[in-house]
């Protein structure tokens, strides 16, 4: 009797995925908080990975009746190297005498942070949740496969549903002619000879019989040629080709004057992340340009962009000028899709705001696919906002702006953008 050996390796994986998603569902509050912390530490391009998340162990403990510390406890330990009966020893620090109890250790333990890793999908799910994205958009952003299936001629192998009848039959006919051709020619010759032989009056019965036998033999061969041979089968071929993708550049403009505090910057970061995620779905190659400004604008790296602090007044047009110059210098509109995202708290020199509008309208908006502006502030809108409002009217579909108090307000800025893609 041989033993039954079952190879389960190809069985469904992720038996635990239901339990896992239940766990995440149940502790969504804590996990969301942890995700928010994680986003603060991430680069905006870094959305393709999962995240290690820690939530307080106390919240997720599974309580049971247990015996606690105290009372009299006898424990047997191995490896005696110095004790004699009746010796007295100091209590080890940290109540180590109960160590031997293993699992039954009292509640003090298990309170550490419970750390685990969210997958990319789970991470994005929570990220989207906070941004209140519509489902269709979520699906579109989270999808990974980026291919289109197109027809690509015919192949000799495939599944029966893909058999191309016309091609197959044409091939079969050709093969029958090609293979049967010599027989047919010979047959015609023999037939002629036979006719000849039959005409001769003193017929040669042996010759006639030979010819008739040969003809019958050839006929049989001809008929043995299969009507359709596996060799003839042709299948319609489809291949996956990547969707046409090109390159894009994304400009992140942010006011870093003293009034932009850490919370506002975090909000702005989510705004940039969402745009990045969108671009990432649609373009093969993306470059990100970070421009920060107070009274002067400069191009910086991501870390400086989000974390360095500046003080002083605000002249927004400097950033727009710099963006315009960078576009002219490095990103020809023929080769690049240009997106702009600007975040600010709304402060600006009064005299500067009309200049900003002009810059945008004349130099920038004609070159970009989309420009989004968010104002993270709860006070009355100021002149920059009013100037931009004029643009919003004249450049609908290109230019979007929004005042933001919470992360869930960010999405409407991109509504137009996403709608266009989904259509």
């Amino acid at each position: 009797m041989t033993v039954r050996i079952i190879d389960r390796r190809l069985d469904s994986r992720n038996k635990s995925s239901i339990n896992r998603s239940r766990f995440i569902h149940r502790f969504k509050g804590q996990i969301r908080k942890a995700v928010a912390d994680a986003i603060a530490h991430r680069g905006i391009r870094d959305l393709q990975n999962g995240e290690k998340i820690g939530i307080p162990g106390k919240d997720i403990s599974e309580p049971q009746f247990r015996i606690g510390r105290g009372g009299v406890r006898d424990v047997v330990h191995p490896g005696n190297d110095r004790f004699h009966r009746g010796d007295e020893v100091e209590r080890p620090l940290g109540g180590g005498a109960g160590q031997g109890k293993g699992k039954a250790s009292p509640d003090g333990e298990g309170m550490d942070e419970f750390v685990f890793t969210l997958t990319r999908d789970e991470f994005l799910d929570i990220f989207f949740d906070e941004l209140a994205l519509p489902n269709l958009v979520k699906r579109q952003l989270a999808r990974i496969d980026d291919y289109k299936r197109v027809r690509a001629g015919y192949t000799q192998s495939g599944v029966p549903t893909n058999i191309n009848l016309v091609r197959t039959m044409r091939g079969a006919a050709g093969r029958r002619i090609a293979v049967g051709g010599p027989y047919a020619a010979r047959l015609r010759e023999l037939q002629a000879e036979l006719d000849e032989a039959l005409k001769e009056t003193p017929g040669d019965p042996q010759e006639i019989e030979r010819l008739q036998r040969e003809i019958a033999c050839l006929r049989a061969r001809q008929e043995a040629i299969p009507f359709v041979d596996p060799f003839d089968l042709r299948y319609s071929n489809r291949i996956r080709i990547p969707q046409p993708s090109t390159q894009a550049v994304m400009f992140c403009l942010m006011d870093v004057s003293g009034s932009m505090d850490e919370a506002k910057k975090q909000m702005a970061k989510r705004f940039f992340m969402l745009l990045y995620l969108f671009l990432n779905r649609n373009y093969e190659h993306i470059e990100v340009v970070f421009i920060r400004h107070h009274t002067l604008a400069e191009e910086v790296d991501e870390d400086t962009f989000f974390h360095a602090r500046e003080t002083g007044g605000t002249i927004v047009s400097t950033a727009l000028q710099l963006m315009r110059d960078i576009i002219a210098e490095r990103y020809a509109t023929s080769a690049w899709n240009i997106y702009g995202a600007q975040a600010s708290d709304g402060d600006n020199w009064n005299d500067d705001s009309p200049l900003c509008r002009e810059l945008l309208a004349d130099a920038i908006l004609p070159k970009v696919q989309y420009f989004a502006y968010i104002e993270i502030s709860d006070s009355e809108p100021q002149n920059l906002w009013r100037e931009y409002e004029e643009l919003a009217a004249s450049h609908a579909g290109h230019f979007a702006m929004q005042r933001i108090a919470a992360a869930s307000d960010i999405y409407p800025v991109f509504r137009e953008l996403f709608r266009r893609r989904l259509a």
Binding site: I6, F65, R66, G68, R73, V76, H77, F83, R85, V89
Partner: protein
């Protein structure tokens, strides 16, 4: 020149299905020669990922869904990925046929070790030990789990995932005080279980209603009323009591309580026989593979690799080592079984004095007897020899919170042997490791409140988690719940109380 011995079962370290089958056949032949009686078994090859899945479901091939299993999975995955732990080489399921998992990453040698350890060692223990025989139905467990998963999934559809989850949370909280310790549980079977579940549903509900039907008679003599206590005998199985008597549970809720209780009961013998069971399996993989080596069926390289992992498994770090985390059940169990064999085959005078009934007896018979009839607690009490206590250099520490210092009670010397052995055995007594909590009273005449009593042992208090658990009890019971504990003077004192008024809507 190298001449390969034609007698080797297989070469190399990469496994193939054929090689595994050959090893299994050879190990099976040797096991039979030693008289091991096993269930049929099947070997299943799985990936590391599937092994982690199996961990989360306590090794069972099917299980109902619950967030806590997701938590365990994440925990395992995380520790494994960070390299903090290796996965167990094997998981074996007490079912008929007995299922042993082989992980694909293992070498051929490790697969042979796992086959010997799990498919023959554990398997024969499951089949022979009285606790497993009495308490678990190996032939029906998988069916029962399928029933449980489907039933719970059905409940989730009908009553909502949150309601079911809350209920299972509460049941899990009581699972360690939800086992019968002394009664035999009836065997399980899928078909019968399904059919009986409906009957039970209607029957139980009618019983419950009966319990509360009569309105309290205030005119009645209070003393007489008090006499009829309910339950008449204290009940230590909290889940059982709740399943049968909680007044407000719906039939489906009772069924789920029952499912959690039944499955908990199934695992109870495993907790009671860890040292014996692991020791037994370790002893047999050691013995079986050594026999194959003596027959020339496996190579020196095979033995080196096997001994390397075997030695890791049975290592016992001393108490002052950084690696120390209690007594290693593999080490103690393996040492004890070997020691029993030694006592049978080559007893010393000391052994004759301590174990007159087994010294010099046939070791196979002694083994069978010991394996069949003991659990960890009694096994240690019966068979731990002075020689082994010396080898392990055991010593007993008493930690009395009234005294400022710890006290060494007994060490591995003549006056200490018996006490040491008694204390070690006590350490494996689940009865004293789990708190002894009993359903004491239900106030039938009054507010239907439930009183639980904690019988403390050696003044040990309940851990603070009792607060959270009591919430769960109150949720299940539906009315007020009290927990009492004796004061040093012997009076019962309420240490926690939950008022919980849940009225059914309508």
């Amino acid at each position: 020149m190298r001449k390969k011995s034609p007698r080797l079962i297989a070469e190399g370290s990469d496994w193939t299905i054929e090689a595994i089958a050959k090893y299994d056949a050879e190990i099976g032949r040797v096991a039979k020669a030693y008289g091991l009686d096993t269930y049929r078994h099947q070997l299943e090859i799985i990936t590391a990922e599937q092994m982690m899945d199996a961990y989360a479901a306590i090794g069972m091939p099917v299980y109902y869904h619950h967030w806590s299993f997701g938590k365990h999975f994440l925990e395992t995955e995380n520790r494994y990925k960070r390299g903090h732990m290796g996965l167990a080489y094997e998981i074996v399921i007490n079912s008929d046929p007995c299922i042993a998992y082989l992980m694909e990453e293992n070498t051929l040698t490790m697969q042979a070790l796992v086959i010997a350890h799990a498919a023959y060692g554990h398997n024969s223990f499951f089949k022979g030990n009285h606790l497993f025989k009495q308490w678990t139905s190996a032939d029906a467990i998988v069916d029962y789990l399928v029933f449980a998963r489907n039933y719970i999934a059905e409940c989730e559809e009908r009553h909502g995932q949150d309601a079911v989850e809350e209920l299972i949370d509460a049941c899990h909280a009581l699972s360690n005080v939800g086992v019968d310790r002394y009664k035999r549980s009836p065997p399980l079977s899928l078909a019968r279980e399904k059919e009986r579940q409906r009957e039970r549903e209607t029957y139980l509900q009618s019983q419950i209603n009966d319990l509360w039907r009569t309105l309290p008679k205030h005119q009645a003599d209070p003393a007489a009323a008090r006499e009829r206590r309910f339950p008449e005998e204290p009940e230590e199985n909290l889940l059982y009591f709740i399943e049968k008597h909680a007044p407000l549970l719906e039939p489906w809720q009772r069924e789920i309580v029952r499912i959690v209780r039944k499955i908990g009961q199934y695992f109870y013998p495993q907790r009671q026989t860890q040292v014996m069971n692991e020791g037994w399996a370790t002893f047999w993989h050691y013995t079986l593979l050594h026999t194959l080596y003596d027959e020339g069926k496996v190579s020196d390289g095979f033995m080196m690799e096997f001994l390397h992992s075997h030695t890791n498994v049975v290592y016992q770090p001393p108490y002052n080592s950084n690696w120390y985390s209690g007594i290693n059940p593999y080490a103690l169990g393996f040492a004890m079984w070997r020691d029993i064999r030694r006592i049978c085959e080559a007893p010393t005078d000391e052994d004759r004095h301590w174990f007159p009934e087994i010294a010099g007896s046939d070791w196979r018979e002694t083994f069978t007897f010991a394996m069949h009839n003991f659990k960890d607690e009694s096994f240690v009490a019966q068979y731990l020899s002075p020689r082994l206590m010396r080898e392990f250099r055991f010593f007993a520490i008493r930690d009395d919170d009234y005294k400022p210092r710890l006290e060494v009670d007994a060490i591995h010397d003549e006056p200490g042997y018996r006490e040491l052995r008694r204390k070690l055995a006590e350490q494996y007594n689940l009865g004293s490791a789990d708190p002894n909590i009993q359903v004491w009273d239900v106030d039938l005449q009054g507010d239907r409140s439930l009183t639980l009593r904690y019988f403390s042992h050696q003044r040990r208090p309940l851990a603070a988690s009792q607060e959270a658990v009591l919430d769960h009890v109150a949720r299940l019971w539906g009315f007020a719940v009290r927990l009492e504990q004796p004061t040093p003077t012997g009076e019962w004192q309420v240490i926690a109380e939950r008022k919980y008024e849940r009225r059914k809507i309508g």
